[in-house]
Subunit: 110 residues, 2 copies
DNA sequence: TCCATAGTTCAACTACTCATGAAGCGTTGA
DNA sequence: TCAACGCTTCATGAGTAGTTGAACTATGGA
């Protein structure tokens, strides 16, 4: 992930509804959720939801596939990992204070 | 860090100049850099720079102190770590794919 | 006290993002 | 083939973020 991609991803995440959508989709893995269920969960009108989903998709953070008349969205977890990787490595240059904050989450020995 | 703080931080980071500023400040640690040097490094007019610095400061990502007639800015690395922690833990719920992407940066044994 | 330096704040403008409702497109079942 | 469903796209308007240059504040030195 380069700076331009990271900026796209950060912009996409910097919105309450879209962050909510991602938090909803990550645990669902590859199965994902249809747009309608996402809209109900985040209490969002169809057209607005579609806008937010397309923003997330353009940023590479989610992907869509059609299943009959429904469209299933799922989180692209590699891209999310890539963003965090970018923040840690390229942006924070492996800074000790920053990385120490993250170790507990990753079951580390360091 | 809660969702509101994370959203502030993400918004602040989602701008090329501000991301550049942070990448500049992190390696400087507590010493930080005066506004003038930051402006020269990121090629940014004074008033615009001041605007971006205040955005980063309001988001809690940098802090300012006066030194004579200069104002020294330094990265608040704990907040940066907190944001990454939030993305890993609260947003991605410790997802395996996401955390695997980050392990290499942290010198992990897992 | 006066001037120069270092930054910040303000006002005006531009550009972009977001929300809304209506119209449109693709799919399914009668 | 027609209506219903699920979702997307479009047009519009409101609000917000970003840029610019001028004016302002604070500090230090002559």
């Amino acid at each position: 992930m380069d700076q331009a991609q990271a900026l796209d991803a950060l912009s996409a995440l910097a919105h309450e509804t879209r962050l909510q959508i991602l938090r909803l989709l990550v645990p669902c893995g590859q199965d994902g959720l249809p747009a309608g269920e996402i809209g109900a969960a985040v209490d969002c009108a169809a057209s607005r939801l579609s806008f937010h989903l397309s923003t997330l998709e353009q940023a590479g953070l989610i992907s869509a596939r059609r299943d009959g008349r429904r469209v299933i969205y799922s989180a692209r977890r590699q891209q999310l990992g890539g963003l965090i990787h970018y923040l840690l490595n390229d942006c924070c240059a492996g800074d000790r204070t920053v990385s120490a904050m993250c170790r507990a989450e990753l079951g580390l020995c360091g």
